[in-house]
Symmetry: C2
Subunit: 288 residues, 2 copies
């Protein structure tokens, strides 16, 4: 079984979940999404994902299709119904089905889809040896802080990375500022301090990013949000990525050049251990 | 009947045409489209639309789902099957159905959808009195020359225009340059010369735009591509929009202020007349 899906009120096999070709999600990318993983079969950090979803919905002027509490219940149900030991729970909300016009459909019923697939982790070799990334020009739109389905430039950049034998691509702004990767936030260690670019229209506020910023000072590490130049990325003692499926993933090569000694760095490894300790093994992880 | 659709080899009622929630068009906006209108029941300028589609497919690294000639045949068939006197033929190609990963699916079969709806024209009042437009910041991605389904910023801007009682919104770049509207190219008349912003990554090369640039000198009007500032837009003797469904539509108000005398201008009206004469009433319009 490839997975299960919930579509506008009904659970079904993933293969059976279909939307109209006039769904605005299909024709216009008129929608937002969240991707939640389970730890020990329980959905992780649901409150934080729903808070971000709320910001994304506001940002595209779309109402909640069901109450936030009901959606939280659906995510719990998705995890209960999942046939997999660990699941990737994907949630997409679009402005629904309507004749193709730019006007928001009057009183339009949104489309709500939840899919559940087996969680896929990065290949073990990459987790052990660290990932390689490339840098690319950021061609994305001006509201990447919203988690919308406008992901084509992310796909183009990610596939450029894959062709170059790399795991991810980091977007560089027109001023030379490093932003984030296609599906992950980016951190560096500079002068012993953990740094990530500040929140703004070109940065998705990742849940794992947020947890790392909260966790670091609690375990005696200095951490902060600072603009990051391409030059600083090249000088960093460590580089690592954060993301829901990735957790904390060390980067050991940027545009073909080694980061530090070319091995996963001690601060990233300490953080990954602490992250597991703090959030993953807790009894009630989604309240974190 | 709301319309008909062709989906991956079969014709059906529009309501029956459905794609998987794992179609990459739905989850990632990983696709391109074209919209063709008929004149006298025959699809207009098909060769030009297919040439643009070819550039869009190249730009997103997607192969033709069927040969170009076969697609031309499908468009002709769509017009023949249409129950409407004039049709809006919409064509969308996505990178197909695959488990949600950024990698292009290996050997993936694209999704090809054609829908046929009744052609909708702008309201008669707007055609007669001219349209009102607003200007908005351009938040779109850096490859608007490709006709992709990443249309969310266009929707947000268009709906801002509707709320302001306007018909369209013109995108202004960070340097103050006027680009185009949500679903139309923009022209001005300045010093008696017809001007439109030059082709580039922020301008969709519209078919009607191209035809106007070709037609103008043939009827003794000066026309050219020049960068256009917001200030020049305010000083223009005339402003008009071009688009497949719009044809040539005069603009009589920009951000609440009248253009020229606040009535459709003589050059726009002359062009619209010539356009009809030249392309619409010809026996073989799609060869134009």
């Amino acid at each position: 079984m490839s997975g299960i899906a919930y579509l506008n009120g009904q659970w079904m096999a993933l293969e059976e979940a279909k939307v109209s070709v006039e769904d605005r999600g299909f024709q216009f990318a008129d929608g937002v999404y969240e991707a939640i993983r389970t730890y020990g079969g329980r959905p992780f950090a649901v409150d934080r994902h729903l808070a971000r979803l709320s910001r994304s919905l506001d940002g595209i002027e779309l109402a909640w299709p069901v109450a936030s509490e009901e959606l939280a219940g659906l995510i719990e149900e998705a995890a209960r119904r999942s046939p997999f030991s660990e699941s990737f729970i994907y949630l997409q909300i679009t402005r629904g089905v309507a004749p193709r016009r730019k006007e928001y459909p009057p009183g339009g019923a949104a489309t709500l889809v939840v899919t559940v697939r087996k969680l896929e982790m990065p290949p073990a070799e990459i987790c052990e040896r660290g990932a390689s990334i490339i840098t690319v020009e950021d061609l994305r739109w001006g509201r990447c802080d919203l988690k919308t389905t406008q992901l084509l430039p992310n796909l183009l950049a990610a596939n450029r990375a894959y062709r170059a034998g790399a795991f991810e691509a980091a977007f560089i702004g027109p001023g030379g500022d490093v932003r984030e990767c296609c599906s992950a936030n980016l951190f560096v260690v500079l002068g012993g301090e953990i740094r990530t670019p500040p929140r703004g229209p070109h940065i998705l506020p990742g849940i794992t990013r947020e947890l790392v910023l909260e966790l670091a000072p609690a375990v005696g590490l200095r951490a902060g949000e600072y603009p990051l130049s391409r030059a600083e990325l090249g000088q960093a003692e460590e580089v690592f990525l954060t993301g829901t499926s990735l957790g904390i993933l060390p980067v050991t090569r940027v545009d073909g050049l080694p980061v530090g000694k070319g091995r996963p760095g001690p601060i990233a490894l300490q953080l990954a251990g602490q992250f597991e300790e703090q959030f993953v093994r807790r009894k009630d992880p989604q309240k974190s």
